[in-house]
């Protein structure tokens, strides 16, 4: 058994707190969105395009997606920390996840503003 375990990465609180804040943001967005969509008598193409032509909806949708990506980063990192023992492989997976999330973020902007 290794007698000296090195700990103290000093980012526990920040990520824990951000995960909670992003969770609240996502819940608010999901409630608002579900509420609005349930109130529509007919859910057709017109309703969807009208909804996403609004700058406010686009902005909050982007905020929701960014919150989702950060939330997912903390969760996925926690899982990788638990199940991947080699630090080198862990680092590679972390970098791949970060890259994927950055690409998703750019893609989200493109989808929301490219319509």
């Amino acid at each position: 058994m290794v007698s000296r375990v090195v700990v103290g990465a000093h980012y526990g609180l920040r990520d824990w707190l951000i995960q909670r804040i992003t969770a609240v943001l996502m819940v608010l967005y999901i409630f608002a969105m579900t509420g609005y969509l349930l109130m529509q008598p007919v859910l057709g193409y017109d309703v969807w395009t009208a909804l996403f032509s609004s700058l406010v909806v686009r902005t909050f949708t982007l905020l929701f997606l960014l919150a989702l990506f950060y939330h997912a980063w903390v969760g996925v990192r926690d899982i990788v920390m638990d199940y991947v023992n080699s630090a080198a492989i862990r680092l590679v997976i972390h970098v791949l996840v970060i890259l994927a999330l950055i690409i998703y973020s750019i893609w989200s902007v493109e989808i929301l503003w490219g319509m």
């Binding site: 700990v7 526990g12 609180l13 990520d15 707190l17």
Partner: protein, 235 residues
Amino acid sequence: MKFRIYRYNPDTDTAPYMQDYELEIRHDDSTQGKMLLDALLMIKQQDDSLSLRKSCREGVCGSDAMNINGRNGLACITPLHTLKEPVELRPLPGLPVIRDLIVDMTQFFKQYHSVKPYLINNEPPPETERLQSPEQRAHLNGLYECILCGCCTTSCPSFWWNPDKFVGPAGLLQAYRFVADTRDQATSERLDDLEDPYRLFRCHTIMNCVDVCPKELNPTEAIGKIKDMMVKRMV
């Protein structure tokens, strides 16, 4: 009454196995006060090879913590009549077994020591004692009573998975006991030490610790209060 007990002797057994025992215990008024430890000692009279730890036999020393019908607890304060038969007894989960119901608690105490569970105050000690107001002292209630039996920490999946890095509920309860103590001067250092993705933040608030604590303490609440203090310090 039927019992199934985990047996393992590293000198003679290649693998652990469950052994059945039966005791003549009548369910009447005379057995109402009988505890599981009484039954275990009766079994030990039948079969003296059965090994277990015990000392005070009244829930103060924390020696006879074990897994009773799937739930951690102290044998000496678990009434026999509350147990479903056959009573399945196993050693505390997540720690190496030395023999039968005896586990190696080195890792548990290593984590306990890592939080510096003692008062740190560099001022010269006063003539008499370091005083606290009754209100300040009241903050320590529910924290100092821990007997270090290990029931909570060994029921925590985060500790099973990361016993070398996650302090575990018992250690974190003691960490908060000194953070909450007005006489202690090392609060920032203590918070710094726990500000880590493993040491404190592997707690995902599933509250197994609260569920099993034989002294009815609440490590989850203490962990939450440590997080509160860290947030207050940051914002």
